[in-house]
Amino acid sequence: MTHQIIDEKKLIAQEKLNNPSLMRTIWREIKNDKMALGSLILFTIIVLTAYLSPLFIDQTALTRVNFLNVWKPPSLDNWLGTDDGGRDVFGQLMIGTRNSLTIGVCVTVLSGLFGLTYGLISGYYGGTVDNVLMRILEFLMVLPSLMFIIVFVVIVPNYNVVTFILIMSAFAWFGKARLIRSKAISERERDYINASKTLGTPGWKIMFFEMFPNLSSLVIVNMTLTLANNIGLETGLSFLGFGLPAGTPSLGTLISFATNPDIVKNKWWAWLPAALLILVMMLCINYIGQAVKRASDARQRLA
C-alpha cells in the first residue's frame, strides 16, 4: 500500500510537469520579456515598501498638524518635504500607495466576481435569461458611470471606505460581464457541458467548475488590466475629492493639492511624486498584464 501511495505522488508530479499550469506559463513568459520582468520587480518593490512602511513610519505623526513645519521642501528629515499641515509627504505617499492598491485590488476582485457570475449565468443559460440580462447590461453600459459614482458618493449615508469600494465595484463590472458572457456562450455549445448535464451535475457547479476553468485565462488577463484601471479611477476620484473619506490618504488625495496653481508651480514635492508613482505603477501593471495576455494565448507567446 505504501508503495502505491509513493508511486501515485510521483505520477501526479510527473503529470504536473507535462501539463504546466497557467501560473507557470505566465512566469515563463514574464522571464522572457525583460520589460515585463523589470516591471514585476519594480512593482514588487513598490508594493513591499508600501505595505511594510507602517513598520518604520509613525502613522499618528503623519496625521498630526505641525504649523512650524509647513510646506518644507525636500530635506534629509522629510525626504519629500511637507504639506500644508507640516506632515511628511513621503510617509503619506507610502500610506496612500497602500490604500490605493488595497482598494484597487478589492474593487477588481469584487467587480470581477460579480461580472463573472453575471456573465456565466447569461452565457450558460442563454435564451430568454441571456436576452433579459443583456438588455439590462446594455442599459447599464450607457450610463455615465463617473457621474453616477460621484453622485452616489455624495448622497450615500454613513460614507466610508467600504461603501466607497461597493459603489466603485457596482459600476466596474459591466465590461467584464459582457466579455465573459460572449466566451461562455460559445463554450456552452461544447459537448463537455452537455456531458456534465447528462451526468447530473447541477447548473451552478457546471458554471463554476466546468465552464469557468476554461475561461480562467481570460479572466486573469482581464483582471490584471482592470486592476490598473481601477487604481486609476480611485485615485482620479480621490483627486476630485470624491474618493477616500477624509483622514484616509490616497495617492489621489496627494495629487489633489495640485488644484491650486501656486502649489502646482512652487510646491511640486507635494503632488508630483504621487503623480509619477501612479504613472509608474500603471505602466508596470500593464506590462505585466501584456505578458499574462501573451501567456494565455499560445500563438502570441514569446517564450
Binding site: N18, N194, A195, T198, N214
Partner: protein, 308 residues
C-alpha cells in the same frame, strides 16, 4: 415491458420574424416519432444529417426540450417530470458523445472526469473513488497510470474510451450513443464498436445507437428505425431493413452503400436507376401533398413502413 417507449415525440423550434419578433412558424426537428426499446437490445436510429436523429436522442436524455409526446422509461413519463424527479433517472440513462475532443473538459484529468458522476450521486471516500475509477479505466483498456493525465495526452479512440468509462460509472440501463465513432479514424472505429458490444453483455446495457453510417448500424443493431425530415420512414429488424426495404427512401439509402465487388457494379447501377424510377412514379404513395411522410403502418409483427 419495454425499457423505453417513445410515444409521438415532437421537438419544435420557433422561427421568429417580423418587426416584433413574433413566432411565425416552427422548425419541426422531430415531428412525431414513436418506438420502443427492449432491455438488452441495440436499436439503431439512422438518417441523413439534419433528419432529427440526434435531436431525438438529446430529447430523450433531457438536453433538448420536448414539445409534446411521451418518453416512458420503465413506464414512467420522463417528459412530464420536474427537474428533481427526473434527476433520479439520470443514473439510468447515459450518453456517449460524438466528438471525443469537445466532450471531455480539457482542464480536468481523467480521474476528475470519470469521478464527476460519482461525486454527484455517491458519497465515496477519496480512496474508494480512486479504486472505482481505476477499475473503470482498466476495464476500458487504458493503463491505470493514465488517470492523472489530461485529455490532450490521449488519442481520439482513447478519449472515446474515457467517455464510455464516464458513461458506465453509474451503471446505467440505457446508453444513448450519438455517432460514437464518426469522429474517429476508420482503423479504430471497429475497436471501439467491438468494445461497446463486449460491455453491453457485461453491464447488461441497452443501446440507442444513432448513426448515419449504414455499415456500422448493420454491424451493431438488432432493430433499426430510419428517419427522414423528423419522422420515421421505416422500422424493422436489421435483416428486414437491409434485405427487404419497403419505403422508397430506405431503398435509396440501402442502394447508396458502395459496392465492393467490381463484378456487381452494373447490377447495382441498374438497381439504383430502377429505384429512382420508382421514386418519380410512386412519389404519392410515400409522401402526402405537403411532402410529409405518412404514419407508420405495420406490414408484419416487426416491420412497419410509412406508406399509404
Amino acid at each position: 415491458m419495454s425499457l423505453l417507449k417513445v410515444n409521438d415525440l415532437k421537438v419544435h423550434y420557433p422561427i421568429r420574424g417580423g418587426f416584433f419578433r413574433r413566432v411565425v412558424d416552427h422548425v419541426r426537428a422531430v415531428d412525431g416519432i414513436s418506438f420502443e426499446l427492449q432491455p438488452g437490445e441495440t436499436y439503431g436510429l439512422v438518417g441523413e444529417s439534419g433528419c432529427g436523429k440526434t435531436t431525438s436522442g438529446r430529447a430523450i436524455i433531457g438536453l433538448n426540450k420536448v414539445t409534446s409526446g411521451e418518453l416512458l422509461f420503465e413506464g414512467k413519463d420522463l417528459s412530464s417530470m420536474g427537474r428533481v424527479e427526473r434527476r433520479k433517472y439520470t443514473r439510468d440513462i447515459q450518453m456517449i458523445f460524438q466528438d471525443p475532443y469537445s466532450s471531455l473538459n480539457v482542464r480536468k484529468n481523467v480521474l476528475n472526469i470519470i469521478a464527476e458522476p460519482l461525486r454527484n450521486f455517491e458519497r465515496l471516500s477519496p480512496k474508494e473513488e480512486l479504486l472505482r475509477v481505476q477499475e473503470l479505466v482498466a476495464r476500458v483498456g487504458l493503463s491505470p497510470e493514465s488517470i492523472y493525465k489530461y485529455p490532450h495526452q490521449f488519442s481520439g479512440g482513447q478519449r472515446q474510451r474515457i467517455g464510455i468509462a464516464r458513461a458506465l460509472t453509474l451503471n446505467p440501463k440505457l446508453i444513448i450513443a450519438d455517432e460514437p465513432v464518426s469522429a474517429l479514424d476508420v482503423s479504430v472505429q471497429a475497436q471501439v464498436l467491438n468494445f461497446m458490444q463486449e460491455i453491453q453483455d457485461e453491464f447488461n446495457l441497452t443501446y440507442l445507437f444513432i448513426s448515419h453510417d449504414l455499415g456500422i448500424i448493420q454491424h451493431m443493431c438488432d432493430r433499426i428505425g430510419i428517419m427522414y425530415r423528423g419522422r420515421f420512414v421505416e422500422e424493422g429488424t436489421a435483416d428486414e431493413i437491409y434485405s427487404n426495404p419497403q419505403h422508397v427512401y430506405t431503398k435509396r439509402l440501402i442502394a447508396a452503400i458502395p459496392e465492393m465487388n467490381p463484378e456487381k457494379r452494373f447490377e447495382k447501377m441498374h438497381l439504383r436507376q430502377a429505384i429512382n424510377q420508382e421514386y418519380q412514379t410512386d412519389y404519392n404513395n410515400y409522401f402526402d401533398k405537403d411532402g410529409r411522410m405518412f404514419d407508420l403502418k405495420k406490414i408484419s409483427d416487426t416491420h412497419s413502413v410509412a406508406m399509404q
